[in-house]
Amino acid sequence: MATGFLTDTTVCIGCKACEVACKQWNQLPADGYELTGDSYDNTKTLSGTTWRHVAFIENPKKKRLTGDVDLVALAEDVREQLPGGAELDALGRWAFMSDVCKHCVEAPCQQACPTGSIIRNEFDNVFIQPDICNGCGYCIPACPYGVITRVPEDGRAFKCTLCYDRQKDGLEPACAKACPTESIMFGEVEELERRAEQRVQELHDRGYTSAFVYGTPEVGGTGGIGGNHSKFILMDEPETYNLPRHPFLPQEKLNQASAASIAAAAVLGAVVAWAFRG
């Protein structure tokens, strides 16, 4: 059985309950009190001590509103034909998104890890075994989503465990439990996929045609790594949420790189033999 998250950004209200619940349950230290001045997001990014991060996306639109627009009607019913061909998107939108480790199906971090510290556990989650990791730091640039960092005071690498300990006791992860709007859903991946499709269909029917699921192998984003066990319902381009459009599995190039190196070795060997011949 594979478990995962489905984070529906369309109902997220940016309360950061998940961030706090995660920090509390996993006893993660605070990251300081820096103010970014960009938005209400002063966490900025995922790290070894921040396993849930709520992004605050102020999303001004590129389209211009033309014509005489009834803003009340616009807000009440988006399906209504708007005068002058205006679109709801023209109002702009404030989007929130609770980011987390994607628990990749073919996880680059797991393939990179030289100690075998990063494993897939019995719930098919990508898990860093803290008693094995020796802090080599190779998983950090390997992850295509920038999820992992090495915690300086500790020396080891950390990331979301998908609350392995809670799952073992039959509990859902702390963030999903704390989320007041069910933006974060936890469950079996297949079930979550069904729910995601349903929700996207619903959104399309209501006129939000830009909604899509990020993290499935077929659509959007994750061709190279076989999809994610943490999926997201997004309303805008992945880049807007600081997600790469088509993350790739770096280890895919291993064979090419090795073959090229062997060829280079043959050429260099021949060159040295030529210089020293006879």
């Binding site: 998107d89 030289p114 094995i132 640039p141 999820v147 090419q256 006879g278």
Partner: protein, 345 residues
């Protein structure tokens, strides 16, 4: 109300312009999240470029002496230089690597598993095998040179080792140690490295070879050791490997394209082009033309050794710059397979 055009004051050509978001470069896409990098840069410190460099020198020195011996070279001073250089490099390498770990006392966890798809795991094993095999060959050399004393058990048993066989056995692992560091950084999500995945191994291996050759010829020239013929062969091999290195650097820069910008611009670009391309490859190539001379040989060797270090250091630094640039990541992780139609964008 008649037709009015509403435009949010902060919108100009799709670029957001507020006090917090000054408009920057017109070519930049209006994308991303407050310019916060979507991926993380590597956190390796000074030990890693020094190791990449030393490991390369050891690898090159060993492979060169082994091949030369197989081709019939009998110069003992040359063999000694090669073996001792490799020994020193291979004794320092693990120390540097362990120092760089976040938890150095757990280094042995690297040896609990073999992972074919992880260049760092394979590198650990390759380095272990190479260091031990070449170390035994060097120990046997030391015993024969009388460095371990004459009449003791240790000296006698090391002297009895089949040093030639050990050298030949170590050679493939030596090649591996020279190349894998390039493949290691190439198999990450850092755009500038990943883009050049195919050429990274050959580039590092060629540089390993030229720095290994230079280390040997430096020692021989400095001490006034070695036969004239060996020195000439070394010079020939150095010239050829520097030419190959130049070609690989050029091909890599071409291949990196727009993602190679960190290596081409700013202080880093100056260090790379000045220290590696001009100082570490072209200048020694010029110095090594014509008849073999001691002074010019020494200068060329030093330049190649410095250039080899700058090459690795610059490429590792460039990886940081590349990972810090959101646009590099976004444009690199791209495929026209997104279910977003134009009008929604």
């Amino acid at each position: 109300m008649t037709d009015v055009t509403r435009e949010a004051p902060q919108q100009r050509n799709g670029h957001v312009e507020t006090s917090h978001h000054p408009r920057k470069d017109d070519r930049r896409q209006d994308k991303g999240y407050y310019d916060i990098p979507p991926i993380k840069e590597h956190t390796w410190t000074w030990e890693v470029p020094v190791y990449f460099w030393l490991g390369g020198i050891g690898s090159g020195a060993h492979v060169v002496t082994t091949i030369a011996r197989m081709c019939g070279n009998k110069d003992l001073a040359f063999l000694r230089a090669g073996r001792y250089i490799t020994l020193v490099a291979m004794m320092l390498s693990p120390v540097l690597l362990i120092m760089d770990l976040g938890r150095p006392e757990r280094f042995y966890n690297m040896l609990r598993i073999v992972k074919w798809r992880s260049p760092m795991s394979m590198g650990t094993w390759g380095l272990t095998l190479f260091a031990n095999l070449s170390g035994l060959a060097a120990a046997s050399q030391a015993a024969r040179d009388g460095l371990l004393g004459r009449e003791n058990f240790l000296a006698r048993s090391f002297a009895a080792l089949p040093d030639r066989l050990l050298s030949i056995l170590a050679a493939p692992f030596g090649v591996f140690v020279g190349a894998y560091t390039g493949v290691l950084i190439a198999l990450t999500s850092t755009p500038i490295w990943a883009r050049n995945a195919v050429l990274m191994g050959p580039l590092f291996l060629t540089s390993a070879m030229s720095t290994g050759l230079s280390a040997i010829s430096f020692v021989l020239n400095l001490g006034g050791w070695g036969e004239r013929k060996t020195l000439e062969s070394l010079q020939k091999a150095e010239r050829a490997s520097l030419l190959l290195e130049m070609g690989l650097i050029a091909a890599s820069l071409l291949r990196m394209g727009r993602w190679g910008k960190p290596l081409r611009s700013g202080k880093l670009g100056a260090a790379f082009f000045g220290g590696t391309v001009a100082g570490g490859v072209l200048a020694p190539l010029a110095l090594l033309q014509g008849r073999e001379s001691r002074g010019r040989g020494i200068l060329a060797s030093l330049l190649v050794l410095a250039g080899g270090y700058i090459l690795r250091r610059a490429i590792l630094e460039a990886g940081k710059h590349s990972a810090r640039d959101p646009e590099a990541t976004f444009t690199f992780a791209w495929q026209e397979n997104l279910p977003l139609r134009d009008e929604n964008v």
